[in-house]
Symmetry: C2
Subunit: 253 residues, 2 copies
């Protein structure tokens, strides 16, 4: 049985706590939260505290707070008897300054309060300051997911950068697409099934094989017609991304 | 019973023909294809021809060929006794020059040969030159989908432009993300579940609400660190898209 305390009550903490109360080999002994804002989204069966001095004894403390709050919290976590792991994709493990047994437990996923997630498929990226702690962290991860990776802080930064393109920027493409719809009195519902299929393809296909459209086939006529229908900002994005696509495909494709 | 001939044997034709042989109120009487390349992907029960002069009698002829082949094909379709509808998102209905009863039957989806699709959820965008033909085209569409829209050629061009952002450009973000992974010896499998969840969110949420990341929270420190890790092309894209995101969120978000 691995005893866990979760520090934080945001979306990551909510999803982690729900997954952990469902596990028979993890015992979630406490949740720390300064505010009661998300209290109703947390499992009611788990004791809560708002006092950092009253954290329960545990094997692993998972710090699921905002990126820029991690280093400020570190001094209060120094005395803890277990492994202290933050859950951020961007923050270095050493942001837990002064903590003896530091670690990272980063779930590569986007978390919203109201969506059900399949933890088994969420990649968990692990790092520990002491190699002897990797066994414990890996055991905890294996209770939640079938997809476990050991990656250091430098590699994790690159991964997070790749995730910005995969998640933030693709979502922004959806937003720009919606704006074009609304500007032309078209329902964005027309495009939701296409968006889902675009992403679903990438589960089993490579994105370079899935690419279609005027830029891939270097259809200059359609591209120039389309650019002319856009405002200055979207035109610049259209042009830059079309060039970026076109240079990756040979004339003979 | 609506009698249909499909002209073409590409991905759209393959998926249309499979859906139509499963329908009890559509009779797919013939498929025209010049080549035998995709023959094994087409329903074996449907007669095929490679002779435009030997097209069977039907109520609707669905022209599922490449965009730039539509107008070249039009003269050969002039004499047909039924409604002639192309399936393109970009081509004007009037590309079917000389055809008396012209129409468009555009499924807003990306088609790959080997993926199963749920036609019921695919939006079908309809247009007819003669308003009297809309009833027939709508009946045909209703046999396949629950999501039917009547949009003229000008509106359809705007929709296709929005689809370029939703599909082509988001898929390119996945590719750039994969390139960053491979450059850093990280498996792209780390990001596939994130990509699927990013798109799945947009089925039930608005993209402006789903947005997260450094650009949304105007985290200049992370943004500048991330830009410095990119090559010139990706840096330009990162910068342009981050600005585009940041301008859409208030300081107080």
């Amino acid at each position: 049985m691995i005893r866990v305390v979760i520090i934080g009550a945001g979306n990551v903490a909510i999803h982690l706590s729900r997954a952990m109360v469902d596990s028979t080999r993890i015992r979630l002994v406490q949740i720390f939260s300064r505010s009661e804002r998300n209290a109703s989204s947390l499992p009611g069966s788990v004791p809560r505290t708002d006092d950092l001095g009253a954290l329960a004894e545990a094997d692993v403390y998972l710090v699921a707070v905002k990126d820029d709050a991690i280093s400020a919290l570190a001094p209060a976590l120094k005395h803890l008897p277990g492994l202290v792991a933050h859950t951020s994709g961007t923050v270095s493990m050493d942001a837990l300054a002064g903590v003896d047994r530091r670690a990272v437990f980063y779930p590569v996923q986007t978390f919203s309060k109201d969506r059900e997630l399949d933890w088994k498929s969420i990649p968990l990226v692990l790092e520990t300051s002491d190699p002897n702690d990797m066994g414990l962290l890996r055991s905890l991860a294996a209770e939640l997911s079938d997809s476990i990776y050991v990656i250091d802080s430098a590699g994790r930064k690159k991964l997070h950068l790749a995730a910005v393109f995969a998640n933030n920027f693709s979502n922004h493409m959806f937003r720009l697409s919606k704006e074009i719809c609304l500007d032309n009195e078209l329902s964005f519902d027309l495009l939701r099934p296409l968006i889902l299929e675009t992403a679903s393809k990438v589960i089993s296909m490579e994105p370079e094989a899935a690419q279609t459209g005027p830029a891939r086939r270097k259809d200059r006529k359609v591209m120039s017609e389309q650019e002319d229908q856009l405002d200055a900002e979207k035109k610049e994005i259209y042009s830059l991304l079309s060039d970026s696509i076109a240079t990756r495909y040979m004339e003979t494709d």
